[in-house]
Symmetry: C2
Subunit: 459 residues, 2 copies
């Protein structure tokens, strides 16, 4: 492919790296702009990350929350989707280098490659405690959760059986809360009649959080509601709990001064994220400044200090020009940033400028179990079923394609009625190791992020 | 697990190996019988095989056509489901040996482990031409089909691009016909607006059949209708065509006297099946007689000649006591055989006998594309849309769980309206090699099947 020519002919060429919320919404917003757009992603689909935990816990299928990028953008005649990996860039020559020796010239570059799991320097924990970022991660979690019950049904040794029925979720953020709630529902409701030699209601589900309360960024009231709702579902919530080691199906953790170790066959990681590979590339090639997690510190207009034609959006960006801390790594922020950069590029072509990016936070939500949630909106706080309704509609609304919405709503309704887990298939997935190796993250060995690696494992 | 004790206490113990149509319907039919049932499967779900090609071609998700065995049988209090592999049996001691050193005593044994791909002694073709039996097979086929278009979009070399856009299906049985029709629809309809540098309507879809017509067991009229419908969709149907080699993304085939080789990046195998591992075990341990494909030749009551307490049903059984050839390896036969054996076992406990198994063939069906089919029923022949309606209802009716039915109907309706392929995501799946190695098939190296290995590759 010689895009170097083809893309130079007519319109300015905007290259977008990453088809997540940031990259996709940037592309969508450029539909009618006088530009040629190339969206590059190493997967052929946009993944609706906020519902990924429902794939991991057997409620939804991957296809329910994934939309092929080509389908979403097929009507965008100025846009080409490329299934490829970006390996390097040259900001002076304005080139992007792809895995297969191909290269693209760009007039504007939008980097939206997001973040991956962060084990705070303990990458050896990956195998024992997988994280949740990709479809393969979700299917691997699903496999582990449901295999644990299958193995317990065949296990005579009470000690081993107990370990098989012990589930630990590390990290009390939204993902950890959602995973813990869903696993409790599986053990205590969905599968309780399905086994003959074990009582799944004897299973133990633990949620570890390093701070003094779960959902730390939320108001205390919301955190309290969330903890209460989780405990009603049967989750043991351990706050001020630091994981010091994970190995051989056991977790060692510190609470205050005493250190404990419990045997748990299923350990899930929802504790930390680190910048994806492109953060390092931007630092090396374009002198981008990275924060401790390797995220790119951007200008008020989301561009790089030294390169006004390179923009970083979404989870990979650290935008701290508003409020006292950087914006959270959530879908709504990424969407708004994508739309903003698309507008900036369009205006710039008309010789106009736009004012710095501003984000109006409409609030945050986390779901607990099948029908409870915490909705902390900027005009009011909700919890319980009402919050769940708000959560459900907000998520359904943003599910890219109509058929996904319809199918997901039906799956939810059906699960709601039956407590069923239609998608609880145990399938073979590549080891998480493979998945992680396939995307190198040298970022975590750069000076920029060293301190974050050295810091104690506060989850 | 020490089932040897636990299962001996009260009722006679019926052990069923395999949770496909045969095994599942046997278990369902024993719900109220005075027996204790153990259903063993190496997967935790029943797979609705007849729709697997729709997973392979991106219409459905695995969970849409899979039902967790525990859910289907959760109300059967006399039934335990075990996720395990049977490695051997001892018909004298009436024992089944499981992978994990566990063993089960049985009073009656029902073997329903089905068949796997058969490459007629050319197992080296597996990697180049995967078959379609498991969920992983289907996801691997899906990956190859959709990756081919992605790679073509990036390919400059016209020759390579042509090979990437050439799809060969080997085998003109129902599965081959259904795959070829679906791939033609993908190339000529579903994805035609999604690419910028390639014209997917230039793709070539070939269907190879060794006999003089596709769907050989069907009436000539049906075969003709099927071929006509496929050609309307754009499939090149090559009959009297024998594949002589598959290697390096190319297929060599013989038509009459001339031999051709074409470059095709995607080659799918729908040509032959061979008995699963248990066939060999029954031959070695119980002196069962196997046919050329390694299937077990059963008595009129589906038991083994030497062991009236061992039954073989479904695709693994060769039942030739009715009509002039053995019953076809299709779901309806397996279901009826499962129900029959369940009844026989129940009656036997009451000291009664039942008359030999009889199968009333209601006919056979194959679907071509989205809205055409061939229905060859014993009272009438249908083709086109009407046949498709019959096909759709017959399949929906047998989808085990209601939520599957509902979701599948919606997916179909949606695809029907939009020509969409909602489930076209490309995910990482283990290489087919792995999948096949995970289930050894010594059967194909036994004298019983040698001739079938030596025979020319008639597809």
């Amino acid at each position: 492919m010689n895009n170097t020519q083809t893309k130079q002919t007519s319109f300015p060429h905007v290259v977008i790296i990453g088809g997540g919320f940031g990259g996709l919404y940037a592309a969508k917003s450029l539909k009618n702009a006088p530009v040629q757009v190339t969206l590059i992603d190493k997967r052929n689909f946009h993944l609706f990350q906020p519902l990924l935990y429902q794939v991991a816990t057997g409620t939804l299928s991957p296809a329910d929350i994934a939309s092929p990028l080509r389908v979403v953008l097929s009507k965008h005649k100025n846009t080409q989707v490329l299934l490829d990996k970006v390996v390097d860039i040259d900001p002076e020559a304005k080139k992007v280098f792809l895995e297969g020796q191909d290269e693209l010239n760009y007039d504007a570059l939008i980097v939206a490659t997001g973040v991956s799991h962060h084990y705070f320097g303990n990458d050896q924990w990956q195998d024992d405690a997988p994280g949740l970022k990709t479809v393969e991660d979700a299917l691997e979690m699903r496999r582990r959760i449901f295999m644990a019950f299958e193995a317990a049904e065949k296990e005579d040794d009470p000690k081993k059986r107990k370990a098989l029925l012990t589930f630990v979720v590390v990290g009390g953020g939204p993902t950890g809360v959602e995973l813990a709630g869903a696993i409790a529902e599986i053990a205590y409701q969905s599968v309780k009649d399905d086994f003959r030699d074990i009582d799944t209601t004897q299973a133990q589900v633990l949620l570890f959080e390093g701070m003094e309360r779960i959902l730390p960024p939320y108001p205390e009231e919301s955190s309290a509601h969330a903890q209460q709702a989780l405990e009603q579902l049967g989750v043991d919530v351990l706050t001020k709990t630091l994981v010091t080691n994970i190995a051989d199906n056991s977790v060692t953790f510190r609470q205050g001064d005493d250190t404990k170790t419990i045997n748990a066959h299923t350990i899930l990681w929802a504790a930390g994220v680190k910048a994806s590979f492109m953060g390092k590339v931007l630092a090396d090639r374009a002198g981008a400044e990275l924060d401790r997690a390797g995220r790119v510190i951007v200008e008020p207009n989301l561009s790089l200090k030294n390169y006004s034609d390179i923009f970083v959006i979404g989870d990979l960006a650290n935008f701290a020009h508003q409020g006292d801390h950087s914006l959270p790594g959530v879908a709504p922020v990424a969407m708004k940033e994508g739309e903003y950069v698309a507008k900036l590029i369009t205006k710039r072509l008309e010789g106009e400028t736009v004012k710095p990016f501003e984000y109006n936070d409409f609030g945050s939500m986390a779901v607990i179990g099948k029908n409870k949630a915490i909705a902390n909106l900027n005009f009011a706080k909700f919890s319980g079923f009402l919050a769940w309704i708000i959560w459900a509609f907000a998520h359904i609304y943003y599910l890219i394609e109509f058929d996904n919405k319809l199918v997901v709503m039906i799956q939810w309704a059906w699960n709601y009625i039956t407590l069923g887990r239609g998608a609880r298939l145990i399938t073979e997935t590549p080891s998480l190791q493979l998945e992680i190796e396939s995307t190198p993250h040298p970022g975590n060995s750069t000076p920029n992020t060293k301190d974050s690696i050295q810091e104690p494992v506060s989850v």
